[in-house]
């Protein structure tokens, strides 16, 4: 039985565990039928031309891991940003861990999707926002069909959330192969501000396929800073589907740090539904071996006077492959749009690959849209220069790569996150030098 058939046949069992008389269940059923029709994406689809899921779909995934396994904080502390106070919504094998979490209902809601989907008091928010901007494509439909658990965050208007919120999905490897469908909803009302750190972390070498969907609604004049840390085991694959709707004068930034995993696909979609909106999409990818990271971004400029800024840096060593597909749509009404896209790549090895494709669809005439894409190697002259000053070749390479990626780090607003990323880069490049540049 292939994975699609296995998923389809297990849907009945899934329905046993959820309330099938709710409105949500209609959404699930529709999504399920959609997935049944579409199946998994193949390379025949333009959007999946350079990313094949074939190898990872062959695993015999456990679709509803139900063996409970507790983990010790000491064993996983390293995956938290622990030097600052944060809210935490933590899942182990798809199940909420109250022990590791720190949620709140004190003026804001930082809690569980399973509660939000079932309790009456959340009904108005769920009705207004759940599955409203998520695309009806293959994998998003799959997630919607099985949506049950994840983080639910609701920030009322005029609220500055002092503590960042960490969402971490741990996989323990109690099953030989685990498939997860986390579903997050983040609603940020007028003039509110929140910072979110998301991570998916496998704790063993057993195969994991995470297909996560996150919907973010940023109301007027709100600010959302989202940091995605992707530094997982080589046996763990991730499809991240993030959909962000912004109202007037909101500022939303998403930083994606992709340092590890087997196949990582980021579908990051911004929809601008007002004026004077700023959307910021940044990423650093540093991978080697046979790792694969694919960034598919979409910024849909619908109204006038908005901006979008994209800056993606990629460093690919050995046989690693990367994809950057950045689509910007500027509608006819979206005059005075300022859309900026930059994608720079370094191929460290002659066996590494990057497929870069900027896609600009501009229907307005009074706009500033720029895109720049570069693919290069490390500057040999610069390496010799640094070596001549006593810096070893490994350190010299690392310093050059760090400097190359640094424009993305500069806009990280949480110092502890910046420090963590810096350390991850140093570890990744196997050097012990301070990059305080």
């Amino acid at each position: 039985m292939d994975l699609k058939e296995k998923i389809i046949s297990s849907y009945v069992a899934f329905e046993d565990g959820v309330n099938i008389n709710s409105d949500i269940h209609e959404i699930r059923t529709e999504a399920f039928q959609n997935f049944e029709k579409l199946g998994f994406p193949s390379k025949k689809l333009e959007a999946w031309k350079y990313t094949s899921l074939n190898t990872i779909l062959k695993e015999d995934y456990s679709i509803f891991p139900d063996k409970e396994k507790s983990i010790n904080l000491a064993d996983v502390k390293q995956y938290f940003i622990h030097d600052i106070d944060t809210y935490k919504v933590i899942f182990i094998d798809g199940k909420y861990s109250s022990f590791l979490s720190e949620t709140t209902h004190d003026s804001i809601d930082v809690c569980l999707m399973s509660s939000a989907l079932t309790k009456a008091k959340y009904k108005p928010v769920i009705e207004n926002y759940f599955n409203k901007i998520a695309k009806q494509d293959n994998l998003t439909s799959l997630n919607t069909a099985f949506s049950k658990e994840g983080a639910y965050i609701h920030i009322p208007k005029n609220t500055e959330v002092e503590k960042p919120i960490q969402i971490i999905n741990f996989t323990t490897g109690t099953e030989a192969a685990t498939m997860l469908q986390p579903r997050n909803l983040i609603v940020v009302e007028q003039n509110a501000h929140v910072q979110i750190i998301e991570r998916h972390q496998s704790l063993t070498e057993n195969a994991v396929l995470t297909n996560v969907v996150t919907e973010v609604y940023a109301d007027r004049h709100s600010t959302v800073d989202f940091y995605k840390i992707q530094n997982d085991h080589i046996s763990a694959s991730l499809v991240d589907n993030t959909f962000i709707e912004q109202q007037s004068e909101s500022v939303v930034s998403v930083h994606t740090f992709s340092f590890g995993g087997n196949i990582t696909r980021n579908n990051l979609n911004f929809y601008q539904k007002g004026e004077h909106i700023d959307s910021i999409l940044k990423g650093i990818t540093i991978i080697e071996g046979k790792q694969h990271v694919d960034h598919h971004t979409l910024v849909h400029h619908i109204e006038p006077n908005c901006e979008s800024h994209q800056d993606y840096k990629g460093i690919f060593d050995e046989r690693a492959t990367g994809v950057f597909n950045g689509k910007v749509i500027v509608e006819k009404e979206a005059q005075k749009t300022n859309a900026y896209q930059k994608n720079n790549n370094v191929l460290v090895s002659d066996k590494s690959t990057i497929n870069a494709k900027p896609q600009l669809e501009i229907f307005a005439d009074d706009v500033k849209c720029s895109h720049g894409c570069t693919i290069g190697q490390l500057d040999e002259e610069a390496l010799f220069y640094m070596q001549q000053r006593g810096i070893g070749i490994k350190e010299a390479r690392a310093l050059l790569m760090y400097a190359f990626a640094n424009t993305v780090l500069e806009s990280v607003k949480i110092p502890e996150v910046k420090d963590r990323i810096t350390r991850l880069i140093a570890n990744k490049l196997n050097v012990n030098i301070g990059f305080n540049i």
Binding site: M386, Q387, Q388, G390, I393, A403, I437
Partner: protein, 250 residues
């Protein structure tokens, strides 16, 4: 300190150095002059260990140790410094942090602890004052958008920080106005001691007014063809190189 014997070297199979001999002792300043294409920069890069140059024959010894198989950073660790003719721009790395990294990597190679931040700052302040370098300059990206003079001053600043045994200044005077030339030369002179040595590669006599050499060598077609004292540089300035070529033929 430096002893080069019968050095033959090539790049892309093109022979550039054709049996060069040079001996530099501690406390000495040597000038190497010569027409374009004589192999001056090649010599500098080979001593520093640039990979694209191939040493076909001969030896390069530093304090009795054959360095010709050492990596560039290993040569730096034992005291070789090259002031680049064209210093490389490294966007995203500030002057200060580059030199901090360089100093600590050198210390690491010698089995020393990192230099305490306080000492580092003090040293940076002293050496930047010596070269009349503005504070703001130190926080800029290394060499990025620097004028020719700023780049060269920054090279000598790094030399001052790293305190090499053997400093090779490859056309450090090119691109310098007379004030910058004086500052740079003054810096080099202050760093000179009986324990270190300097090789000055230049086209012009001008720099040698300020950094007075003990020996002047003329490099022509991959060999040192004439050696003299400081007065040789003056003579070259006045008469050019042709008379040396004629002397060689006769």
């Amino acid at each position: 300190m430096l002893k080069i014997e019968n050095l033959k070297a090539s790049v892309d199979n093109k022979s550039i150095l054709k049996g060069l001999n040079l001996e530099v002792n501690a406390g000495e300043v040597h000038a190497i002059m010569g027409p374009n294409g004589a192999g001056k920069s090649t010599l500098a890069n080979i001593i520093a260990g640039k990979e694209e140059y191939e040493v076909n024959q001969g030896t390069i010894e530093l304090n009795g140790e054959d360095i010709s198989e050492l990596a560039p950073e290993e040569r730096a660790h034992i005291g070789v410094f090259l002031s680049f003719q064209y210093p490389v721009e490294i966007p995203g790395v500030s002057v200060t942090n580059f030199i901090k990294t360089a100093i600590n990597e050198n210390r690491k190679a010698k089995g020393l602890e990192e230099m305490p931040a306080k000492n580092m700052l003090k040293m940076i302040r002293e050496k930047s004052e010596l070269l009349e370098i503005d504070r703001k300059f130190l926080s800029r990206s290394l060499n990025e958008g620097f004028s020719g003079g700023e780049k060269k001053r920054n090279e000598i600043f790094q030399m001052a920080m790293l305190e090499p045994k053997l400093a090779i200044l490859d056309e450090t005077d090119s691109g310098l106005d007379i004030d910058a030339l004086r500052i740079v030369a003054n810096g080099v002179n202050k760093l000179k001691s009986k324990d270190n040595a300097v090789i000055v590669i230049t086209h012009y006599q001008r720099l040698l007014d300020y950094i007075v050499p003990d020996f002047v060598h003329v490099l022509h077609d991959g060999k040192i063809v004439k050696t003299g004292d400081a007065s040789l540089a003056l003579e070259l300035e006045a008469r050019g190189y042709d008379w040396i070529k004629e002397e060689m033929i006769s």
